[in-house]
Protein backbone atom coordinates (compact mmCIF):
# COMPACT_ATOMS: atom_id res chain seq x y z
CA UNK A 1 0.00 0.00 0.00
CA UNK A 2 1.38 3.33 -0.94
CA UNK A 3 1.49 6.29 1.33
CA UNK A 4 -1.31 8.68 1.58
CA UNK A 5 -1.82 11.22 -1.08
CA UNK A 6 -3.40 14.41 0.01
CA UNK A 7 -4.18 17.14 -2.37
CA UNK A 8 -6.02 19.80 -0.56
CA UNK A 9 -5.76 23.40 -1.41
CA UNK A 10 -6.58 25.37 1.64
CA UNK A 11 -4.88 25.66 4.95
CA UNK A 12 -5.89 24.14 8.19
CA UNK A 13 -7.75 26.71 10.19
CA UNK A 14 -8.47 25.31 13.58
CA UNK A 15 -9.30 22.04 15.16
CA UNK A 16 -11.22 21.92 18.37
CA UNK A 17 -12.55 18.95 20.23
CA UNK A 18 -14.59 16.30 18.55
CA UNK A 19 -18.21 17.09 18.62
CA UNK A 20 -17.75 20.78 18.81
CA UNK A 21 -18.03 23.19 16.02
CA UNK A 22 -14.86 23.83 14.15
CA UNK A 23 -13.54 25.51 11.11
CA UNK A 24 -12.63 23.07 8.43
CA UNK A 25 -10.43 23.88 5.53
CA UNK A 26 -9.89 21.54 2.64
CA UNK A 27 -6.64 20.15 3.94
CA UNK A 28 -8.14 19.11 7.17
CA UNK A 29 -10.56 16.57 5.76
CA UNK A 30 -7.99 13.81 5.85
CA UNK A 31 -7.23 14.24 9.49
CA UNK A 32 -10.93 14.33 10.23
CA UNK A 33 -11.44 11.03 8.51
CA UNK A 34 -8.43 9.47 10.13
CA UNK A 35 -9.69 10.37 13.54
CA UNK A 36 -13.15 9.11 12.81
CA UNK A 37 -11.97 5.86 11.39
CA UNK A 38 -8.91 5.01 13.42
CA UNK A 39 -10.09 6.11 16.81
CA UNK A 40 -13.57 4.72 16.44
CA UNK A 41 -14.92 7.74 18.15
CA UNK A 42 -18.55 7.60 19.07
CA UNK A 43 -19.44 10.73 17.30
CA UNK A 44 -22.66 12.47 17.82
CA UNK A 45 -22.67 15.34 15.45
CA UNK A 46 -19.68 16.67 13.68
CA UNK A 47 -20.06 20.18 12.43
CA UNK A 48 -17.79 22.23 10.29
CA UNK A 49 -18.18 25.86 9.77
CA UNK A 50 -16.91 27.39 6.56
CA UNK A 51 -14.35 30.10 6.51
CA UNK A 52 -16.11 33.35 6.68
CA UNK A 53 -13.52 35.09 4.57
CA UNK A 54 -13.21 32.63 1.77
CA UNK A 55 -14.96 32.09 -1.46
CA UNK A 56 -13.28 28.75 -1.75
CA UNK A 57 -14.67 25.45 -0.80
CA UNK A 58 -15.58 24.28 2.58
CA UNK A 59 -16.78 20.95 3.77
CA UNK A 60 -19.52 19.80 5.97
CA UNK A 61 -19.37 16.44 7.55
CA UNK A 62 -21.51 14.66 10.00
CA UNK A 63 -21.19 11.22 11.31
CA UNK A 64 -23.61 9.92 13.80
CA UNK A 65 -23.09 6.28 14.44
CA UNK A 66 -26.20 5.69 16.37
CA UNK A 67 -28.72 7.86 14.66
CA UNK A 68 -27.98 6.80 11.11
CA UNK A 69 -30.49 4.41 9.73
CA UNK A 70 -30.20 2.42 6.55
CA UNK A 71 -31.02 4.48 3.51
CA UNK A 72 -30.81 7.77 5.29
CA UNK A 73 -28.13 10.18 6.19
CA UNK A 74 -27.49 13.08 8.42
CA UNK A 75 -25.41 16.00 7.38
CA UNK A 76 -25.28 19.63 8.15
CA UNK A 77 -25.07 22.32 5.61
CA UNK A 78 -25.05 26.03 5.75
CA UNK A 79 -22.94 29.09 5.57
CA UNK A 80 -21.10 30.49 8.52
CA UNK A 81 -23.50 30.40 11.44
CA UNK A 82 -26.52 29.73 9.31
CA UNK A 83 -26.92 26.01 9.78
CA UNK A 84 -29.38 23.67 8.24
CA UNK A 85 -29.87 20.01 8.72
CA UNK A 86 -29.81 17.71 5.76
CA UNK A 87 -31.43 14.40 6.38
CA UNK A 88 -31.81 12.49 3.18
CA UNK A 89 -29.78 10.53 0.74
CA UNK A 90 -30.23 13.19 -1.87
CA UNK A 91 -27.14 15.19 -2.64
CA UNK A 92 -27.07 18.58 -1.04
CA UNK A 93 -27.81 21.35 -3.47
CA UNK A 94 -24.99 23.20 -5.15
CA UNK A 95 -22.51 20.61 -4.09
CA UNK A 96 -19.18 20.37 -5.77
CA UNK A 97 -18.79 16.65 -5.91
CA UNK A 98 -15.43 15.04 -5.65
CA UNK A 99 -14.19 11.62 -4.87
CA UNK A 100 -11.79 9.90 -2.65
CA UNK A 101 -11.05 6.31 -2.21
CA UNK A 102 -8.58 3.58 -2.82
CA UNK A 103 -8.59 0.02 -3.92
CA UNK A 104 -6.17 -2.03 -1.91
CA UNK A 105 -6.80 -5.27 -3.69
CA UNK A 106 -9.30 -7.98 -3.02
CA UNK A 107 -9.99 -7.17 0.59
CA UNK A 108 -10.81 -3.54 0.91
CA UNK A 109 -12.51 -0.90 -0.99
CA UNK A 110 -13.39 2.51 0.20
CA UNK A 111 -14.97 5.32 -1.63
CA UNK A 112 -15.92 8.68 -0.36
CA UNK A 113 -18.06 10.74 -2.64
CA UNK A 114 -18.60 14.18 -1.37
CA UNK A 115 -22.23 15.06 -1.46
CA UNK A 116 -23.25 11.49 -2.02
CA UNK A 117 -23.99 8.67 0.36
CA UNK A 118 -20.58 7.34 1.24
CA UNK A 119 -19.59 3.83 2.01
CA UNK A 120 -16.42 2.51 3.41
CA UNK A 121 -17.04 -1.13 3.13
CA UNK A 122 -15.46 -4.49 3.18
CA UNK A 123 -16.96 -6.75 0.53
CA UNK A 124 -15.67 -9.96 2.08
CA UNK A 125 -16.80 -9.17 5.56
CA UNK A 126 -18.87 -11.93 7.06
CA UNK A 127 -20.37 -9.62 9.58
CA UNK A 128 -21.71 -7.18 7.07
CA UNK A 129 -20.14 -4.34 8.98
CA UNK A 130 -20.17 -1.13 7.15
CA UNK A 131 -18.95 2.25 8.14
CA UNK A 132 -20.94 4.98 6.57
CA UNK A 133 -20.14 8.65 6.44
CA UNK A 134 -21.63 11.53 4.65
CA UNK A 135 -19.54 14.36 3.40
CA UNK A 136 -20.61 17.41 1.54
CA UNK A 137 -18.39 19.82 -0.29
CA UNK A 138 -19.66 23.24 -1.15
CA UNK A 139 -18.35 26.06 -3.22
CA UNK A 140 -17.10 26.68 -6.70
CA UNK A 141 -13.55 25.64 -5.93
CA UNK A 142 -14.27 22.33 -4.27
CA UNK A 143 -12.62 20.31 -6.96
CA UNK A 144 -9.86 18.64 -5.08
CA UNK A 145 -9.43 14.97 -4.44
CA UNK A 146 -8.00 12.96 -1.63
CA UNK A 147 -6.67 9.48 -1.13
CA UNK A 148 -6.29 8.15 2.34
CA UNK A 149 -5.20 4.52 2.14
CA UNK A 150 -3.51 4.39 5.49
CA UNK A 151 -6.73 4.68 7.37
CA UNK A 152 -8.20 1.43 6.17
CA UNK A 153 -6.41 -1.03 8.41
CA UNK A 154 -7.98 0.81 11.28
CA UNK A 155 -11.45 0.25 9.96
CA UNK A 156 -11.98 -3.24 11.28
CA UNK A 157 -13.74 -3.79 13.45
CA UNK A 158 -15.79 -0.70 13.18
CA UNK A 159 -18.09 0.36 15.90
CA UNK A 160 -21.33 0.32 14.03
CA UNK A 161 -24.16 -1.79 15.15
CA UNK A 162 -24.06 -5.14 13.31
CA UNK A 163 -27.76 -4.77 12.72
CA UNK A 164 -27.19 -1.54 10.93
CA UNK A 165 -24.52 -3.01 8.76
CA UNK A 166 -26.53 -6.07 7.84
CA UNK A 167 -29.41 -4.00 6.62
CA UNK A 168 -27.32 -2.26 4.02
CA UNK A 169 -27.34 -3.96 0.66
CA UNK A 170 -24.28 -4.40 -1.46
CA UNK A 171 -24.66 -3.58 -5.09
CA UNK A 172 -23.56 -6.49 -7.25
CA UNK A 173 -22.10 -6.48 -10.73
CA UNK A 174 -25.35 -7.38 -12.43
CA UNK A 175 -27.12 -4.50 -10.79
CA UNK A 176 -24.36 -2.12 -11.83
CA UNK A 177 -24.57 -3.34 -15.40
CA UNK A 178 -28.32 -2.98 -15.46
CA UNK A 179 -28.15 0.52 -14.01
CA UNK A 180 -25.51 1.65 -16.46
CA UNK A 181 -27.31 -0.03 -19.34
CA UNK A 182 -30.38 1.99 -18.50
CA UNK A 183 -28.25 5.13 -18.69
CA UNK A 184 -27.01 3.96 -22.08
CA UNK A 185 -30.58 3.57 -23.24
CA UNK A 186 -31.36 7.14 -22.26
CA UNK A 187 -28.20 8.27 -24.04
CA UNK A 188 -29.30 6.77 -27.34
CA UNK A 189 -31.40 9.83 -28.04
CA UNK A 190 -28.80 12.35 -27.03
CA UNK A 191 -26.71 14.39 -29.44
CA UNK A 192 -23.16 14.41 -28.11
CA UNK A 193 -21.09 17.49 -28.80
CA UNK A 194 -17.46 18.05 -28.02
CA UNK A 195 -17.00 20.60 -25.27
CA UNK A 196 -20.51 20.07 -23.95
CA UNK A 197 -21.07 17.88 -20.92
CA UNK A 198 -23.69 15.36 -21.98
CA UNK A 199 -26.44 14.13 -19.72
CA UNK A 200 -25.07 10.64 -20.20
CA UNK A 201 -21.60 11.64 -19.07
CA UNK A 202 -22.99 13.48 -16.07
CA UNK A 203 -25.10 10.51 -15.06
CA UNK A 204 -22.29 8.05 -15.59
CA UNK A 205 -19.79 10.09 -13.61
CA UNK A 206 -22.24 10.49 -10.79
CA UNK A 207 -22.89 6.76 -10.76
CA UNK A 208 -19.19 5.96 -10.78
CA UNK A 209 -18.60 8.38 -7.94
CA UNK A 210 -21.29 6.74 -5.91
CA UNK A 211 -20.35 3.14 -6.56
CA UNK A 212 -16.65 3.29 -7.32
CA UNK A 213 -14.66 0.41 -8.65
CA UNK A 214 -17.53 -2.04 -9.01
CA UNK A 215 -19.36 0.40 -11.23
CA UNK A 216 -16.24 1.12 -13.27
CA UNK A 217 -15.80 -2.60 -13.86
CA UNK A 218 -19.42 -2.91 -14.92
CA UNK A 219 -18.96 -0.03 -17.31
CA UNK A 220 -15.86 -1.72 -18.70
CA UNK A 221 -17.87 -4.86 -19.34
CA UNK A 222 -20.53 -2.95 -21.26
CA UNK A 223 -17.96 -1.05 -23.30
CA UNK A 224 -15.91 -4.08 -24.21
CA UNK A 225 -18.94 -6.22 -24.93
CA UNK A 226 -20.25 -3.32 -27.03
CA UNK A 227 -23.60 -3.23 -25.31
CA UNK A 228 -24.63 0.13 -26.65
CA UNK A 229 -24.55 2.30 -29.73
CA UNK A 230 -21.13 3.37 -30.92
CA UNK A 231 -21.72 7.01 -29.92
CA UNK A 232 -22.95 6.06 -26.47
CA UNK A 233 -20.00 3.75 -25.90
CA UNK A 234 -17.62 6.41 -27.17
CA UNK A 235 -19.11 8.96 -24.80
CA UNK A 236 -18.73 6.52 -21.95
CA UNK A 237 -15.05 5.98 -22.75
CA UNK A 238 -14.46 9.70 -22.77
CA UNK A 239 -16.34 10.12 -19.51
CA UNK A 240 -13.98 7.61 -17.91
CA UNK A 241 -11.09 9.90 -18.63
CA UNK A 242 -12.79 12.81 -16.93
CA UNK A 243 -13.55 11.08 -13.67
CA UNK A 244 -11.42 12.57 -10.94
CA UNK A 245 -11.38 9.39 -8.90
CA UNK A 246 -7.76 8.64 -8.16
CA UNK A 247 -8.67 5.27 -6.68
CA UNK A 248 -9.84 3.91 -10.00
CA UNK A 249 -7.35 5.74 -12.17
CA UNK A 250 -5.30 2.76 -13.34
CA UNK A 251 -8.40 0.68 -13.91
CA UNK A 252 -9.93 3.46 -15.96
CA UNK A 253 -6.75 3.91 -17.97
CA UNK A 254 -6.67 0.18 -18.66
CA UNK A 255 -10.25 0.31 -19.91
CA UNK A 256 -9.47 3.24 -22.16
CA UNK A 257 -6.37 1.53 -23.51
CA UNK A 258 -8.31 -1.63 -24.18
CA UNK A 259 -10.92 0.42 -26.01
CA UNK A 260 -8.26 1.19 -28.61
CA UNK A 261 -8.90 -2.30 -29.96
CA UNK A 262 -12.69 -2.00 -30.07
CA UNK A 263 -14.30 -3.17 -33.28
CA UNK A 264 -16.10 0.20 -33.38
CA UNK A 265 -14.01 3.01 -34.81
CA UNK A 266 -15.93 5.61 -32.82
CA UNK A 267 -14.86 3.87 -29.62
CA UNK A 268 -11.24 3.63 -30.77
CA UNK A 269 -11.37 7.31 -31.63
CA UNK A 270 -12.87 8.16 -28.26
CA UNK A 271 -10.15 6.17 -26.55
CA UNK A 272 -7.47 8.17 -28.31
CA UNK A 273 -9.12 11.42 -27.25
CA UNK A 274 -9.49 10.14 -23.71
CA UNK A 275 -5.81 9.27 -23.52
CA UNK A 276 -4.90 12.84 -24.38
CA UNK A 277 -7.18 14.01 -21.59
CA UNK A 278 -5.53 11.57 -19.17
CA UNK A 279 -2.12 12.80 -20.36
CA UNK A 280 -0.40 9.64 -19.22
CA UNK A 281 2.71 8.50 -21.10
CA UNK A 282 2.10 4.97 -19.84
CA UNK A 283 -0.45 4.70 -22.62
CA UNK A 284 2.18 5.07 -25.34
CA UNK A 285 2.77 1.32 -25.59
CA UNK A 286 -0.93 0.64 -26.07
CA UNK A 287 -1.09 3.37 -28.68
CA UNK A 288 1.88 1.91 -30.54
CA UNK A 289 0.12 -1.43 -30.70
CA UNK A 290 -3.12 0.19 -31.84
CA UNK A 291 -1.39 2.19 -34.57
CA UNK A 292 0.00 -1.00 -36.08
CA UNK A 293 -3.40 -2.56 -36.58
CA UNK A 294 -5.66 0.46 -37.12
CA UNK A 295 -7.36 -0.11 -40.49
CA UNK A 296 -8.64 3.46 -41.00
CA UNK A 297 -5.74 5.60 -42.17
CA UNK A 298 -7.23 8.86 -40.92
CA UNK A 299 -7.78 7.39 -37.47
CA UNK A 300 -4.33 5.86 -37.58
CA UNK A 301 -2.94 9.37 -38.10
CA UNK A 302 -4.94 10.62 -35.16
CA UNK A 303 -3.56 7.82 -33.02
CA UNK A 304 -0.03 8.75 -34.08
CA UNK A 305 -0.73 12.35 -33.15
CA UNK A 306 -1.84 11.26 -29.68
CA UNK A 307 1.23 9.07 -29.26
CA UNK A 308 3.48 11.93 -30.33
CA UNK A 309 1.68 14.27 -27.99
CA UNK A 310 2.18 11.96 -25.05
CA UNK A 311 5.84 11.53 -25.94
CA UNK A 312 6.30 15.27 -25.90
CA UNK A 313 4.49 15.60 -22.61
CA UNK A 314 6.83 13.19 -20.86
Amino acid sequence: MTGAVHRFRAAFESDSEIGSEMLLSDRMATSVLKRVLSEGIAWTTYKIRPETSGSYAYLNAVSSQLSLTPGSSVATSGVADDWALHTSDDPLPRIAVFDAGVDTGSEWFAGISIGQPTRVLRPNATTGEVFLLHFAGHGSDADFVMEIPEVYPALAPNRLSPDFGRQLSFVDAHTHRAEIKSLFELGRNELFEDGIESSLAKSLLQYLRLHGRGAVRALAYLIHEERGTSEVLAEAVRALARSGDVATYSLRRDIVERSLSSSLHAVRDAASIALVAMDDPHAIAALEAAIKVEPISDLQNDLRAVRDWLRRSR
Binding site: D194, G195, I196, A266, A270, D298
Partner: protein
Protein backbone atom coordinates in the same frame (compact mmCIF):
# COMPACT_ATOMS: atom_id res chain seq x y z
CA UNK B 1 -10.28 31.34 -51.98
CA UNK B 2 -11.17 31.41 -48.34
CA UNK B 3 -12.53 28.43 -46.49
CA UNK B 4 -15.52 27.83 -44.31
CA UNK B 5 -15.07 26.11 -40.96
CA UNK B 6 -17.57 24.18 -38.90
CA UNK B 7 -16.98 22.25 -35.70
CA UNK B 8 -17.84 18.59 -36.14
CA UNK B 9 -17.10 15.18 -34.68
CA UNK B 10 -14.74 13.41 -37.03
CA UNK B 11 -15.96 9.98 -36.07
CA UNK B 12 -19.37 10.73 -37.56
CA UNK B 13 -17.81 11.24 -40.96
CA UNK B 14 -16.09 7.88 -41.04
CA UNK B 15 -18.05 5.04 -42.57
CA UNK B 16 -19.27 2.61 -39.96
CA UNK B 17 -18.03 -0.93 -39.77
CA UNK B 18 -19.36 -3.29 -42.44
CA UNK B 19 -20.69 -0.37 -44.44
CA UNK B 20 -20.26 -1.76 -47.91
CA UNK B 21 -23.88 -0.78 -48.44
CA UNK B 22 -22.94 2.91 -48.55
CA UNK B 23 -22.65 3.84 -52.23
CA UNK B 24 -19.21 4.93 -53.33
CA UNK B 25 -18.79 8.68 -52.95
CA UNK B 26 -21.68 8.96 -50.55
CA UNK B 27 -21.48 9.83 -46.88
CA UNK B 28 -22.46 8.09 -43.64
CA UNK B 29 -25.82 9.29 -42.42
CA UNK B 30 -24.30 10.00 -39.02
CA UNK B 31 -22.36 12.91 -40.52
CA UNK B 32 -25.63 14.77 -40.86
CA UNK B 33 -25.79 14.94 -37.08
CA UNK B 34 -23.10 17.61 -37.43
CA UNK B 35 -25.29 19.52 -39.85
CA UNK B 36 -28.17 20.37 -37.60
CA UNK B 37 -29.84 23.46 -38.99
CA UNK B 38 -32.03 25.90 -37.13
CA UNK B 39 -34.47 27.79 -39.30
CA UNK B 40 -32.67 26.19 -42.24
CA UNK B 41 -29.50 28.05 -41.26
CA UNK B 42 -26.11 26.54 -40.49
CA UNK B 43 -23.34 28.40 -38.71
CA UNK B 44 -19.82 28.52 -40.18
CA UNK B 45 -16.74 30.68 -39.80
CA UNK B 46 -14.72 32.08 -42.66
CA UNK B 47 -11.04 31.21 -42.71
CA UNK B 48 -8.66 33.27 -44.84
CA UNK B 49 -7.02 31.44 -47.70
CA UNK B 50 -3.68 31.63 -45.93
CA UNK B 51 -5.43 30.39 -42.77
CA UNK B 52 -3.86 33.13 -40.70
CA UNK B 53 -7.08 33.60 -38.72
CA UNK B 54 -7.61 29.90 -38.06
CA UNK B 55 -6.32 29.98 -34.49
CA UNK B 56 -8.52 32.92 -33.62
CA UNK B 57 -11.60 31.21 -34.96
CA UNK B 58 -10.74 28.01 -33.11
CA UNK B 59 -10.52 30.02 -29.90
CA UNK B 60 -13.83 31.73 -30.64
CA UNK B 61 -15.66 28.48 -31.28
CA UNK B 62 -14.00 26.47 -28.53
CA UNK B 63 -14.75 29.02 -25.85
CA UNK B 64 -18.38 29.07 -26.92
CA UNK B 65 -18.67 25.55 -25.51
CA UNK B 66 -18.83 24.58 -21.85
CA UNK B 67 -15.34 23.29 -21.36
CA UNK B 68 -12.08 22.49 -23.16
CA UNK B 69 -12.19 19.47 -25.40
CA UNK B 70 -10.78 18.05 -28.57
CA UNK B 71 -11.58 20.33 -31.48
CA UNK B 72 -12.63 18.54 -34.66
CA UNK B 73 -13.50 20.73 -37.57
CA UNK B 74 -14.27 20.65 -41.24
CA UNK B 75 -12.79 23.08 -43.71
CA UNK B 76 -14.31 23.49 -47.13
CA UNK B 77 -13.64 25.95 -49.94
CA UNK B 78 -16.10 28.80 -49.80
CA UNK B 79 -16.11 28.77 -53.57
CA UNK B 80 -17.36 25.20 -53.66
CA UNK B 81 -20.15 26.02 -51.25
CA UNK B 82 -21.25 28.96 -53.37
CA UNK B 83 -21.28 26.73 -56.42
CA UNK B 84 -23.86 24.61 -54.67
CA UNK B 85 -26.16 27.63 -54.80
CA UNK B 86 -25.97 28.17 -51.06
CA UNK B 87 -26.30 31.74 -49.87
CA UNK B 88 -23.63 32.85 -47.39
CA UNK B 89 -24.55 35.76 -45.13
CA UNK B 90 -22.18 37.78 -42.97
CA UNK B 91 -23.70 37.70 -39.50
CA UNK B 92 -21.40 38.61 -36.66
CA UNK B 93 -20.73 35.83 -34.20
CA UNK B 94 -21.32 36.10 -30.49
CA UNK B 95 -18.10 34.62 -29.21
CA UNK B 96 -15.93 36.16 -26.53
CA UNK B 97 -13.13 36.64 -29.03
CA UNK B 98 -12.80 40.33 -29.79
CA UNK B 99 -11.68 39.95 -33.39
CA UNK B 100 -13.19 36.72 -34.63
CA UNK B 101 -16.87 37.55 -34.62
CA UNK B 102 -16.66 39.38 -37.92
CA UNK B 103 -15.65 36.12 -39.57
CA UNK B 104 -18.85 34.36 -38.67
CA UNK B 105 -21.08 33.29 -41.54
CA UNK B 106 -24.54 31.85 -41.81
CA UNK B 107 -25.39 29.50 -44.61
CA UNK B 108 -29.05 30.20 -45.17
CA UNK B 109 -31.93 28.66 -47.06
CA UNK B 110 -30.71 25.12 -46.56
CA UNK B 111 -33.36 22.70 -47.69
CA UNK B 112 -32.78 18.98 -47.52
CA UNK B 113 -31.04 18.35 -50.82
CA UNK B 114 -28.82 21.42 -50.43
CA UNK B 115 -27.83 20.30 -46.97
CA UNK B 116 -27.01 16.85 -48.24
CA UNK B 117 -24.93 18.23 -51.10
CA UNK B 118 -23.11 20.46 -48.65
CA UNK B 119 -22.30 17.50 -46.44
CA UNK B 120 -21.16 15.48 -49.43
CA UNK B 121 -18.95 18.33 -50.56
CA UNK B 122 -17.39 18.60 -47.12
CA UNK B 123 -16.79 14.85 -47.02
CA UNK B 124 -15.35 14.52 -50.49
CA UNK B 125 -13.60 17.85 -51.09
CA UNK B 126 -13.13 19.28 -47.62
CA UNK B 127 -10.65 18.64 -44.88
CA UNK B 128 -11.56 17.01 -41.60
CA UNK B 129 -9.03 18.08 -39.01
CA UNK B 130 -8.39 17.78 -35.29
CA UNK B 131 -6.74 19.82 -32.59
CA UNK B 132 -6.13 17.98 -29.33
CA UNK B 133 -7.48 19.55 -26.18
CA UNK B 134 -4.12 20.75 -24.81
CA UNK B 135 -3.44 22.64 -28.03
CA UNK B 136 -6.86 24.26 -27.87
CA UNK B 137 -6.17 25.36 -24.32
CA UNK B 138 -2.80 26.73 -25.34
CA UNK B 139 -4.43 28.78 -28.09
CA UNK B 140 -6.95 30.18 -25.64
CA UNK B 141 -4.26 31.02 -23.12
CA UNK B 142 -2.31 32.84 -25.80
CA UNK B 143 -5.41 34.76 -26.87
CA UNK B 144 -5.96 35.79 -23.27
CA UNK B 145 -2.36 36.93 -22.97
CA UNK B 146 -2.75 38.97 -26.13
CA UNK B 147 -5.93 40.56 -24.78
CA UNK B 148 -8.04 39.14 -27.59
CA UNK B 149 -10.67 37.80 -25.22
CA UNK B 150 -13.49 39.65 -23.52
CA UNK B 151 -12.82 38.26 -20.07
CA UNK B 152 -15.96 39.76 -18.62
CA UNK B 153 -18.07 37.25 -20.53
CA UNK B 154 -18.22 33.54 -19.72
CA UNK B 155 -15.56 33.82 -17.02
CA UNK B 156 -16.41 30.39 -15.58
CA UNK B 157 -15.85 28.78 -18.97
CA UNK B 158 -12.71 30.75 -19.63
CA UNK B 159 -11.30 29.65 -16.30
CA UNK B 160 -11.46 26.04 -17.41
CA UNK B 161 -9.32 26.84 -20.41
CA UNK B 162 -6.64 28.85 -18.71
CA UNK B 163 -6.08 27.01 -15.45
Amino acid sequence: MPFLLRRIKKSRWRAPEHSEWIPKGDIPGDSLRDMGTQNCVLSFWEIKDDRTNLDEVVVAVATSAERPDVFDYALVDRDMVEKLGIEIVNNDGESIHKKANSWHRDLVGLHGSKLLRLAQTIATAGELLRLPEPEVKALVRRAVDEDLIDKSRRPEVLAKFVR
